[in-house]
Symmetry: C2
Subunit: 346 residues, 2 copies
DNA sequence: GCAAAGTATGACATCGATGTCGGCGGCATC
DNA sequence: GATGCCGCCGACATCGATGTCATACTTTGC
């Protein structure tokens, strides 16, 4: 990876002042207000006057100042904020994409920020967004508590939580059916004859991880299986650790005959560890991913784009004045068998 | 995928008016200006006065109105716009991530919009962003011409182009070494003994695709190979078409012994077509992707996060007043052999 | 032909912050 | 004890648009 530079042509980066409506009005020989009317297609502007104003605007390269307009119109922007994890994680980018598409239909713009999974930073970002007067704030919370969004201190800016439930019952949320999805995975493996099943989860402080853990445990309990317990590995947070963890698991004697990884990062790590490994245990991953069909990985799939869409919809309804009780939308999951989850125990 | 709703608790969505600085000042018993000074940590505020103001702000839940501040401070926001394709494409989301990280260091926020690969929409988005007074605009252009960003009409708002060069020599750009990368891929296959190599490209109207085409052709010419010509397939734009195209190619007699796909979408399609296919031709894809190591796909890799970072850096320098000639940063490529590109001709 | 209604326009206040400038009291200086 | 400086504070203009209201001039109605 190298970076070189070449130069050609000239860019005028000077901060030329953009022309204001006053200047357009002056050039057209009308008052400020008339110019405003003309450019906003308001009634009561003579045909000829309107043309003169538009010409002047054109010549000057006038562009309305949205900041001034927003101030006058009520000091609230056409922006909706999203605070989430890093966009290189396809889960977050899919969510962002769903949000963006939905917002666009209502003339709203998405502003994104990365919380780096840090509660402190997240809090600062919320403040910054509120100062910028976003119309709504969508948050995939990094961590534990987030009382900071007590409604009373946010003066009516609607919050929507994604993937992790809000602390209190005071905000809308879009959640995944983590328990159901994980239970289905557990049942699927049990049906396949597995007993020694390794459960590998991410940080337990994240609510979705707890849900996936619990769902899996429910399935084991219902199936009367206890042999999974020695193979539980929690708080595995990155791909490399996941790979190592799976390697260690496979080195045990007896080794687990199946793995359940509770998010896409962990699944990636597991796939790396499994590559060329003789044992070839069964594997189910939570979160669908690109090329899972090619690799043949059985997953618990859900629709992150739909999550984003639903969240944006909830937010938009609030923006539009809906004042009812907090709502929770649950996104369902589907187990997609692709081979890896159907391998029999060795 | 199902969505259900449950309700609990109450959200007050009413549009409570946020308190203004004037109200804070009144409560603290000082003038507007003094309150402003206190909250901005300006000098010449008595200790006790400052405390009273901060307390009042706290009690009222005051939050500065960024819109008003920006208007007063110069009618330009702390936003930088990004117009690109859909974020579900990992290339775009990686670029966005790189941009976001870099901007954050300078207190700038990223606003994203999807051009849907439509030039008309793209143009409208540029206008909308300019109205919103973004400090800079980063664009991964959808299509062909984009004279619209003639600098003079943008009054000093810096533009940076990513992945596709600007029309004129008047804007900064961050490009990939498409020609070099594609040539390397071609040479690699030739060295492997391949002659009947299929080149599968996306829409020819996209400059990067033309570069990758040309680089490949250069390699073939240099190697004195002409046998690739019957296997050229261009303007393949989505995964499904790519899959079909590859299937058709493999059904030819004689079939190609190797494939070169010029972006991640096409590579995905090819992998789907190849799954379980007996012939098992060699494959090199342009763009690295998640799990390529697991699948064993040889790729021409580059660093989209670095692209974003560099673009944001160029933009920031302009924002900071740099007024020199237009610059182009080229991101290098690396051929990563992982097996698929090293399979010998059948 | 005259009142009523309607059209085209402009003067001025306003949104919520910051910048400029000037006033007032206290304290050091000579 | 007059002068000057400095710390603290407030009145007012300002950023660039939109909303309100007044006004001059037309048109309509009878």
């Amino acid at each position: 990876m190298s970076a070189s530079r070449s130069a050609d042509g000239v860019v005028d980066g000077a901060n030329l002042r953009r022309p204001t409506l006053t200047q357009v009005a002056a050039m057209a020989g009308v008052s400020l207000k008339t110019a405003s009317r003309a450019l906003n297609d308001e009634p009561n502007v003579a045909e000829a006057t309107g043309r003169r104003v538009r010409e002047a605007a054109d010549v000057l390269g006038y562009r309305l100042n949205g900041i001034a307009r927003e101030l006058r119109r009520g000091a609230t922007s056409a922006l909706v904020g999203l605070i989430s994890g890093d966009l290189t994680n396809p889960f977050y980018s899919a969510v962002a994409s769903g949000i963006e598409r939905e917002l666009r239909q209502h003339g709203l713009q998405l502003v994104t920020a990365n919380n780096d999974e840090d509660a402190e930073l997240e809090r600062a970002l919320v403040d910054a967004f509120l100062e910028r007067r976003v119309r709504a704030l969508l948050v995939v919370p990094s961590g534990v508590r987030h009382e900071y969004l007590a409604v009373e201190s946010n003066h009516g800016v609607p919050f929507v939580f994604l993937d992790r439930p809000p602390d209190g019952p005071t905000a809308d949320a879009v959640l995944i059916d983590n328990i159901g999805g994980a239970r289905a995975a557990g049942e699927h493996l049990l049906r396949g004859g597995h007993r020694r099943i390794a459960l590998i989860t991410d940080l337990a402080r994240m609510a979705p991880q707890r849900g996936r853990h619990d769902g899996f445990v429910q399935a084991m309990a219902a199936g009367g299986n206890e042999e999974w317990r020695p193979y539980l590995r929690t708080d595995v947070h990155d791909v490399r650790r996941a790979e190592e963890t799976v390697r260690e698991l496979l080195a045990l004697d007896p080794a687990p005959t199946a793995l359940f990884t509770t998010n896409n990062r962990l699944t990636t790590g597991a796939l790396r560890a499994l590559r060329g490994h003789p044992g070839n245990p069964a594997l189910i991953g939570f979160d669908d991913f690109d090329l899972a069909d090619v690799i043949g990985t059985t997953v618990v799939a859900h629709d992150p784009v739909a999550m984003g869409r639903e969240a944006a919809r909830l937010a938009y309804e609030r923006i539009s004045g809906f004042a009812g009780p907090a709502r929770t939308v649950t996104i369902g999951t589907t187990l997609i068998p692709r081979g890896s989850g159907e391998r029999p125990p060795a």
